[in-house]
Symmetry: none
Subunit: 203 residues, 4 copies
């Protein structure tokens, strides 16, 4: 009995994950059956269990890949040597774009993963932390460079950036389109100079 080549195994694993991703995105985790995923992937139910321990494992892996892919972009931006203001704007823009492009996977994350009881110790959470800590990093760098004032809690900025984008994107899910560039500009504007009416130099 011929053993399948590692290459072929990898291809199959990928195609299962593809099938799972699109199926979960379309109908949600609970409303997607393993049989549906297997059919989309062109294999039998049983074989799927050779590649993934169970249905939830599949979900976690789908989201892990999503995160890793998205993170690369964000980390690339964070690695650039550029003024904080511009860097922040690029990050916000990129993050917003992720929501626009993959709203279903985002919803999946919020609905099915973040609320799991074992989320605190899950590998997905570690990815999420690594993801959001990118903003913490550039804020610390900006503070060190004097680009922003002292005494700012970088984690609050992180929550502000991700929270705002998420909330905005979420309301955009219900109906209205989202203008990525304008939203990024407006948000960064507020974050930098605040709402106060006093005259001040723009950076």
């Amino acid at each position: 009995m011929p053993v399948i080549s590692p290459r072929k195994m990898q291809d199959r694993s990928d195609s299962i994950l593809d099938a799972a991703r699109s199926a979960f995105a379309e109908t949600g985790f609970e409303n997607t059956s393993v049989a549906q995923i297997a059919r989309r992937a062109g294999i039998s139910d049983g074989l799927l269990y050779r590649y993934f321990r169970n249905k939830r494992d599949l979900l976690n892996e789908v989201l892990r890949r999503f995160y890793e892919r998205t993170m690369l972009d964000l980390e690339e931006i964070a690695a650039r040597d550029m003024p904080f203001l511009d860097q922040l704007r690029d990050l916000v823009r990129r993050h917003l774009q992720t929501f626009v492009d993959d709203v279903d996977l985002c919803r999946l994350f919020f609905a099915e993963v973040r609320t799991q009881t074992d989320y605190a110790v899950s590998p997905i959470r570690q990815l999420n932390q690594r993801y959001t800590s990118i903003v913490v990093g550039i804020v610390q760098k900006a503070a060190a460079r004097g680009e922003i004032r002292q005494g700012i809690d970088p984690r609050l900025v992180r929550d502000l950036i991700f929270g705002t984008v998420e909330h905005r994107a979420w309301s955009a899910v219900q109906g209205r389109q989202i203008d990525v560039d304008k939203t990024a500009n407006d948000l960064v504007d507020i974050v930098m100079v605040g709402l106060q009416p006093v005259k001040q130099e723009r950076l």
Copy 2:
């Protein structure tokens, strides 16, 4: 002439809602069976259906009560005649406190309701909109009074406030305590004057 007193009916309705709230919070909507809720409430399956039309009705009612209760506080703050800065700080503090006090219900809302495909037309969404529009309202009033600069999109401020608080509270769910007063102060500080280092007059 009802066979049980209205008081007893009310008590029972409350105890069912209590049971539903804690059960949903612990195991999620899908993974909680009506039978479990009935057992927690100390009644039979069938009787539950004399108080609530169906399982989803139960969820909606749990969240409606939560919202109405919370909203009263928020609207009371919004109705006060006080400087925008202080009003915003009170609102943020109150909203944060809600998360601290009722993290289970918040999780329930985010996980089970907001992600439903029919959320757009659900009664809960209307409550949520009324809830968040409170901030839109005070921002508009502040703009009219000249307390903040022109050209600010009030809905972006709304997303910023609720998104940040939510994100912060969410990370607080996983472990760490949250310092409500400090967080509120810091957030309002950033929102008002931004991160920029330039010297400026505080309001």
Copy 3:
């Protein structure tokens, strides 16, 4: 504690039966709940059980009354002293009219009663037998009078009359209207002279 008058009891029993009849006719036996009947009758669920042992008892009583009422008409016709031909035609017409007027009750009988396992010993069956034996009776009388030829099995005529009417009425239930007079004439015509083409004296 005042005992209710026999008269009032009778009235109530009647109103329950009325409610049951119309409810069963509209939605069928299985799809009608005891609570619905009680509500229609303006009483509580529990009280209904003071008047009828159970739901099926109610059904039997509804049909028993229906039969008795219908039977009176049929027996009145059978008691008349008139030529067999005319008498038969009147009976057929009357029976057809019953289907037209009370198709729902007829359906109820066929669907819910005649197929009960204990139908063979039920009071309803006795009524049904008494009902159909009316035709047996007039056939025997006609044979004795020489109005029909010898050697005819009266029970076969009974089955012919009731079977044909039922079958015709049943197909009429699905859509098409039924012309009572024409159908009665045509049926009696065939029954009397048959289909054969030979010239013969009409009676």
Copy 4:
């Protein structure tokens, strides 16, 4: 490559249908649970649903098989080139025999299917129409050939034949044996020459 042989699948399908037929016949459609059928067939509940879409599908299939089997015989008789009289007698005999052989299935049809509100659009009704239209056809042919007199409504003859047989068989269900040949002869006799006492040529 199916994991079980087509032969075995067919056998199982048959055994499920057998189980369903006898269970439905004994306790009726509503009062038979899918679990009961599965147990009779020696399989699990779930497996049954790989063979039949749902409970009603099972009922339809049971009756469809019955009809198709029976119809073949009837259509074979109708296709023969023989005098109307003899053909009719053969049809009646055959139809009566069906009742004698499969009284349970007949009861099932009358009690559970024909009385359904959606019977008018059910596949079973189409089979029934095709079945009964066989008699309509031979009557029309007989009329064209002059074997029966003009002005006869073939559909009334259809109702007469099927109605009478059904009624007779039905009363036979409760107890008494049925003499197929005699009944067929007597019925055809009446249908051809009627009840009238006048002298006439027999065909």
